[in-house]
Amino acid sequence: MNIEHFLQKISEQFESTDVSQIVPETEFKLLEEWSSMHALLIIALIDAEYNVPFSGEDLQNCNTISDIYNTVQIRMLHND
């Protein structure tokens, strides 16, 4: 798992948001395009790509994309 790949996967879940706007510091819930559907997609993406538990509650506790990335990384360490 690396941050570039993660950012690319996250950016693929958006339609009108430019890739350049998806960086670790991005506060994703403030993106114009953000909706409850994106929350569902990101949770499912994490399950499919990284196979770790990540809930709606977890997503709520994250503000930036790097918050999500860090949570996933910690969960992956616990999986090993």
Partner: protein
């Protein structure tokens, strides 16, 4: 009020070890039914046997998705006057990330298991004349939500199955109906709460004029459909939603 009573009726309850199934078993036993309870955990079934009113009930642990176990269960069953099919699972994924494996899991437990069980019951003549079969569906079958395509499909399949069954067994006096609850406080509720976030679930609950449901609300509806009081009702789905869909 005799028609509402279940005394003298032998009823199979599947998924009896938790949630709606557990409450259904408790309620039916209070109404005089003799029960056969089924579920995956032998330990939990034995705990529930102790809680049931009087002690003439039986427990058969079985994984209903395993055809051998299903055939064994049916063979051991006494001839029934009714069945409440409460075994079910809930899983969610948006279609973009929906794996066929997850869909198959949902279909297997929520739809194929009841279908296979009913086939066996009919083949082995385990249903008395005037039996009533009740399946627990969900309002999701008619009112989908994001992430729920596979779950909704499994329950819609179940409802279509129940309607077809009602036609095929009417000549032997057997009835088949579904109950379709909206949000009910069970383990499945907690599971979805965890996935979706407390906040969204609280918002959702606020849309229910009568509040969200309790397992007992569903158990009472099932008891009615199993009783002779509903003897002219077949092929229907009874929606239980605390008024949620009235203004929709």
């Amino acid at each position: 009020m005799h028609s509402f009573n279940l005394s003298g009726k032998t009823i199979l309850v599947t998924g009896a070890s938790s949630g709606i199934g557990r409450q259904t078993a408790l309620t039916l036993s209070k109404m005089g039914a003799k029960l056969v309870i089924s579920g995956q955990s032998e330990r939990r079934l034995n705990e529930i046997l102790v809680e049931l009113e009087n002690d003439e009930h039986l427990a058969f642990p079985a994984d209903l998705t395993d055809s051998t176990q299903l055939a064994e269960l049916t063979e051991q069953l006494p001839v029934l006057n009714g069945m409440a099919f409460c075994a079910g699972i809930w899983k969610s994924a948006p279609i973009k990330f929906l794996q066929p494996k997850l869909t198959m899991q949902l279909l297997q437990i929520n739809y194929l298991a009841p279908q296979a069980l009913v086939s066996q019951l009919l083949q082995q003549k385990k249903l008395h004349h005037r039996s009533s079969l009740v399946f627990v569906s969900s309002i999701a079958a008619q009112h989908p939500y994001k992430g729920g395509s596979a779950y909704a499909a499994s329950k819609a399949a179940l409802e279509a199955f129940s309607k077809t069954l009602s036609l095929e067994v009417a000549h032997i006096g057997i009835r088949s109906n579904c109950v379709a609850p909206a949000m009910v406080q069970t383990q499945i509720f907690e599971q979805s709460q965890n996935l979706v976030s407390d906040n969204l679930m609280t918002q959702h609950a606020q849309q229910y004029p009568l509040g969200i449901g309790k397992p007992l609300d569903v158990a009472h509806a099932i008891a009615y459909l199993l009783s002779d009081a509903s003897e002219w009702i077949t092929g229907t789905t009874l929606r239980l939603d605390g008024g949620l869909s009235v203004g929709a």
